[in-house]
Every structure is written in structure tokens, then in C-alpha cells.
């Protein structure tokens, strides 16, 4: 019982949106589809919802083969980035829409709408039009509307993308708490790695129409599968031919000696920037500039100044990934072969 996506392919003309996508989304979890814009994550979500047809592959929702079901028969709740509020209907009628379509008794609809409006804290706005609500309120209304049909799966397409930073943060926390309350299988699309790391139980990283890695947030952060995931999920700097997180580097003011020789690099402190509790040090080595971040206390203990010699090494056990350039252009290689 879950969402099973197998072998999904999707093209828009010449543009390949998705290739060979296999995902298993477990029941009752909050899963994030994370990736840069244009990477295909929204397309995948819309294929799961039935709003877009895949060129190949199958979708199974909670044990029901859904590949060719129209959206209205998939029993999924969908929340759009720009709310998609029915502008001519009041907030209560918006929430009631799915129930009215299903011809539920009036009293039942009324009770359910009331319950949902309380859940999303909009009970005092029941008789307003969507145009009289703020963006955050409209999105909560859209969520209540999607939840009203008691969907097996709740799909959210960049749900907080159109909101300002502060409201986005609030709604993010609220979504997490809401999910802990209602436990509906939820998939949301985001390009904000912080949002995914904070809210999701499981993250699917999608780039260039392919899945780069699937795993819980900690696993993705600590053991990234490749340089793309490493770069996308947090700050990185390059030491030698390895990518490493700047806070996983140790700086010393004297040569630490022969231990970990392979990872010790000598350089000169080029620039010191202090941002609140964090100090960022640019160390110029023979062939590159390495960024190291440390706390103010650590920095004070080292007594380094700009221009002083410094030695950089990686904390034992810290995740590193071999840095490779962007993958070679396959079409170009084919052209060279031919």
C-alpha cells in the first residue's frame, strides 16, 4: 500500500522531462521531491495526479493501477503553487466543492467543512471570497479543500513557492504538524533544500529528468550519492579533487605533521569574514581557494590573521565526494563517434 511509480518516461517535444523514473513512496509518510527548476519534479507529481499523461511507465496508488485513470477517479488531493482557488465561491463553498460533486448530504458537508476550516484555522473566514484572503490563508484553504475528499494521497506542487519567506517558514512548520495529525500519504515538490530537509521523512532528489538519490534527510546530507546531491543539499567547497562541507574542515596554524597526510593541504589565509557566530576563512592553496567555516571561539583559539600560513584537513569520517565536472554531453560524444 503506497505509491508505486515504475519506468515513467515523459517528453515535451524534443525536451526530455523524465527518463526511467522508479519511485516507491511509502504510505503515511511525508515525501519531498527535491530538485532544481526544470528538473522534472513537478511533471512527476502531475503524472501521479493524472493531470499529465506519461509516455511510458505505470503509476499505482494504494494498490490500484492508476496509469490510465482520469484525475477525478484517482482520489488524490492536489494543491497548486498559485492556490487555484475558485474565485467566485466563498471559502466554505471552496472546501465543500469535492463533497458537493460527490452529492453528500447537506448536513454532512456542513459538518465536514466546519471541521476542516477549524483544522486549517480559517473558521472565521468561512463566508469570505478567496480574493479577501492573504496568500498563506488561501493556500490553507486549498489544503482544506483537497483534504475534504479524504484523499488516499495528498500532492502539493511547490505549495509555499508563491509566499514570502516568513509565511513560508510558518506554513512549513504547520504542514509538518498537520501531517502528524492526519497521517495522509503526502508528496510535495520543492526546490528549497532547507524546506525538504526540515519537513520531509523521505527525500527524492530529481535532476535533469532522473532520480539522483532517494533517502531520509540525514542520509542524503551525510552520505550523498554523487557530487550533484552533495552540492544541492548544502554548502560545499573543494579540497584537492574532493567536495567537502566547509564545516567539516579543520584549520590549524601550524603543520599538523604526517598524520592524514593525504588530506592535509598547506595554504595562506586570504580573507576572514565574520557572519554572526560563524567565521568564514578563505585559504589559498597552491591551486585553489578553500572555504573553511568555524565558530568564533575556534577562530580565536587559532589566532590566525589574513596573510598567515594555515593547514587545512578534513574531519575524519566527514562525507566527501569526488568532484567531477558536469557529465559529458552525450549527444556531442555520439556525434564524435559517428
Amino acid at each position: 500500500m503506497s505509491i508505486e511509480v515504475r519506468g515513467i518516461e515523459k517528453r515535451f517535444g524534443d525536451f526530455v522531462a523524465l527518463t526511467d523514473i522508479d519511485v516507491h513512496i511509502p504510505t503515511g509518510q511525508l515525501t519531498a521531491l527535491l530538485g532544481p527548476s526544470g528538473g522534472g519534479k513537478s511533471t512527476l507529481l502531475r503524472i501521479i495526479a493524472g493531470l499529465e499523461d506519461a509516455d511510458a511507465g505505470t503509476v499505482e496508488i494504494e494498490g490500484v493501477e492508476a496509469t490510465h485513470l482520469p484525475p477525478q477517479r484517482r482520489n488524490v488531493g492536489f494543491v497548486f503553487q498559485h492556490y487555484a482557488a475558485f474565485k467566485h465561491l466563498t471559502v466554505a463553498r471552496n472546501v465543500a466543492f469535492g463533497l458537493e460533486i460527490r452529492k453528500r448530504p447537506k448536513a454532512d458537508i456542513k459538518a465536514k467543512v466546519q471541521e476542516l476550516l477549524e483544522l486549517v484555522h480559517l473558521e472565521q473566514f468561512a463566508d469570505r471570497l478567496p480574493g479577501q484572503l492573504s496568500g498563506g490563508q488561501r493556500q490553507r484553504m486549498a489544503l482544506a479543500r483537497a483534504l475534504a475528499i479524504e484523499p488516499k494521497v495528498l500532492l502539493l506542487d511547490e505549495p509555499f513557492g508563491a509566499l514570502d519567506a516568513k509565511v513560508r517558514k510558518e506554513l512549513r512548520d504547520w504542514l509538518r504538524r498537520l501531517h502528524d495529525e492526519v497521517h495522509v500519504t503526502t508528496v510535495f515538490v520543492t526546490h528549497d533544500q532547507e524546506e525538504a530537509l526540515e519537513v520531509a521523512d523521505e527525500i527524492v532528489v530529481i535532476n535533469d529528468g532522473r532520480i539522483e538519490q532517494i533517502g531520509p534527510p540525514d542520509a542524503l546530507y551525510d552520505t550523498p550519492a554523487n557530487d550533484f546531491v552533495m552540492r544541492f543539499l548544502g554548502p560545499v567547497t573543494q579540497l584537492g579533487d574532493h567536495l567537502v562541507r566547509p564545516h567539516d574542515l579543520v584549520l590549524s596554524s601550524s603543520d599538523p605533521g604526517r598524520l592524514d597526510k593525504g588530506y592535509v593541504v598547506e595554504g595562506t589565509v586570504q580573507r576572514i569574514t565574520r557572519v554572526g557566530f560563524e567565521v568564514r576563512v578563505d585559504v589559498a592553496t597552491a591551486d585553489q581557494v578553500v572555504l573553511v567555516t568555524l565558530t568564533r571561539t575556534e577562530m580565536a583559539g587559532l589566532g590566525l590573521v589574513e596573510g598567515a600560513p594555515a593547514w587545512v584537513r578534513v574531519v575524519p569520517g566527514a562525507p566527501t565526494v569526488r568532484a567531477i565536472g558536469p557529465p559529458p554531453d552525450e549527444q556531442l560524444l555520439e556525434a564524435l563517434d559517428a
Binding site: A49, G50, L51, P70, P71, Q72, R73, R74, V76, G77, F78, F80, H82, Y83, A84, A85, F86, K87, H88, F97, G98, I101, R102, L129, G131, Q132, A142, R145, A146, A148, I149
Partner: protein, 291 residues
């Protein structure tokens, strides 16, 4: 809603004098525009009203006593209502097709829809005669054998009128459909609505005002069509003579009574057209507010 709208427009109202300074040039422009409109539109149309009411209401009552006149008015109303209904149904269908679907030839279809606006109505009438004419049209003789007369009968008049008013509903509805996008429709689908429920509950309320506007424009155009109808109608008094044709016919006859009838019908046509414009101008601000 009203209160928020007035709050939003207040700063605009305050800053308006700064933007528009009233120099002597403003008054010159105003005079030119007003004079232009008076000479070209207001004065000639008002003369119709003046002629109609030169003898009080007797002109109108005489005209309405004439069976030929009432028959012409009745025919015009019937033709206009039927062609507006046809254009409403097809207009909505074509609008949805143009905006919501991508298919080869879509741009050609979009261009074709504007043909009735650019082609002279007389040409429209003539082309209909060539296709449906009873003697040597393409379909005409066959249809006539089967008992359907199109040219020189009401169906022909309806076709000609429908043709010239064809783009009006579409040109109102298409931009609004494009503006509202597909999000609301997709949301309705995901909530369980089928295509018909989605259209009735979500799409139609969103384009309601554009549809009303298009219908009013079509109605005005249908009531006033002359050229195309003239070619296909046959102009038989009491049978295939519409109101516009009756104006011309009466005006060309001798006698003060006929002249008075021409003025009376012309006045009625003008009055309905003005009423349409008034209705539309009351709807316009509504449209922008509802969005």
C-alpha cells in the same frame, strides 16, 4: 470587497492631478474629440429621434399599426435571437477549443474566425447564395428538392446574420479563458468533477461576464445587419423583409406615411443599440472588479 476597492483606489485619486495637468492643449483636444463625435454620431442619430417624434407619438403609433412594419420587426427579433443562440453555443465551443487544446491548424482557425469582421457583408450574402441558392447553388437545388428553402427565406437570413456576428462572442471569451488559466479547472478535476461539472461549476462562472458582453454585442450586430441580409432575404414585404430592409424600403417609397415608418423603425433600431451599449457599459466595470 467594495471597501477594499475604494481603499485601493484612494491613493490613485490623490495623485491624479499631478499626472494630468490641464493646459490649454487639453481643452483643444477635448473640443476636437467632442466636435468629431457630435458631427459624426450624436447629431445624425439625434435627428432620427427628432424626425420620429416631430408629431409626438403619432408616427410611432402609425408605424405600429402597419402590419408590414410589425412583421419586419418580428422577423428581425426572431432572426436575432436564433443567431445569437447559435453563436453563443458555437462561440463557447470554439473558444474552449482555441484556448484549451493544441492541434494543427489552430492558428488558421483563429484567423478564419476574424474573416466575418473583415469581409464586406455583401460578399457574405453573395457567397451564401452561391452555396445554398435554389437555382444553381452547390447544395441549394438538392435541399430545395427535399423541401428546404434557404435563400430568400428565414434560414438564409439567420445564416447570414449568424455569419456576420460569429467572432463577437469568441473574441470576448478567448482572452478571459486565457487569463484564468487551467489551474482552477484542474483543481476541480482532481476534486472529482467530470468535464461537464467542471465547465458548469468553475469555467462558466469565471467567464460569465465575457459571455454576457459577447451576447449583447452579437445581439446588437444581429439586429442591425443589412448588407448580407439584403442579398439573401429577397425582401418580400411581410415575409422576408427584416427591420433594416424595411427602413430602406419605406424610405425609398413615396408618401409621408412611408417616410414616417422609416424613421420610426430606424429610431427603434437605434434605441435598442443604445440600450445595448448602456447595458455593456454598466457591465464593464463589473468585469474588472470580479477578476
Amino acid at each position: 470587497m467594495a471597501s477594499s476597492a475604494s481603499v485601493a483606489s484612494r491613493p490613485k485619486a490623490v495623485s491624479r492631478p499631478k499626472v494630468r495637468r490641464r493646459g490649454p492643449l487639453t481643452y483643444v483636444f477635448r473640443f476636437v474629440v467632442v466636435a468629431y463625435l457630435v458631427l459624426l454620431v450624436a447629431w445624425p442619430v439625434s435627428l432620427i429621434a427628432k424626425q420620429t417624434f416631430a408629431d409626438g407619438f403619432s408616427t410611432l403609433s402609425t408605424a405600429f399599426g402597419d402590419e408590414e412594419v410589425t412583421a419586419a420587426l418580428g422577423l428581425t427579433v426572431r432572426v436575432a435571437v436564433v443567431s445569437v443562440l447559435i453563436n453563443l453555443v458555437f462561440g463557447l465551443g470554439i473558444s474552449l477549443l482555441l484556448v484549451r487544446y493544441r492541434f494543427p491548424g489552430r492558428r488558421l482557425l483563429s484567423a478564419l474566425i476574424d474573416v466575418p469582421l473583415s469581409v464586406s457583408p455583401v460578399v457574405v450574402g453573395l457567397s451564401l447564395v452561391l452555396v445554398y441558392g435554389g437555382r444553381d447553388g452547390w447544395f441549394g437545388p438538392g435541399l430545395e428538392d427535399a423541401g428546404f428553402q434557404i435563400i430568400f427565406a428565414t434560414p438564409g437570413i439567420i445564416m447570414a446574420t449568424t455569419f456576420v456576428a460569429l467572432p463577437l462572442v469568441i473574441r470576448e471569451v478567448v482572452p478571459v479563458l486565457e487569463e484564468i488559466g487551467t489551474d482552477q479547472e484542474q483543481a476541480a478535476r482532481s476534486l472529482g468533477a467530470n468535464a461537464i461539472q467542471t465547465f458548469r461549476r468553475v469555467t462558466l462562472p469565471a467567464i460569465k461576464w465575457a459571455v454576457v458582453y459577447g451576447v449583447v454585442l452579437s445581439l446588437a450586430r444581429s439586429l442591425g445587419e443589412f448588407g448580407a441580409v439584403k442579398v439573401v432575404a429577397g425582401n418580400v414585404g411581410g415575409k422576408t423583409r427584416t427591420a433594416t430592409l424595411a427602413v430602406e424600403h419605406k424610405y425609398q417609397q413615396f408618401g409621408a406615411d412611408n417616410l414616417a415608418s422609416a424613421y420610426a423603425i430606424a429610431f427603434l433600431l437605434a434605441a435598442v443599440a443604445v440600450a445595448c451599449i448602456v447595458v455593456v457599459s454598466f457591465l464593464r466595470p463589473d468585469v474588472s472588479e470580479k477578476r
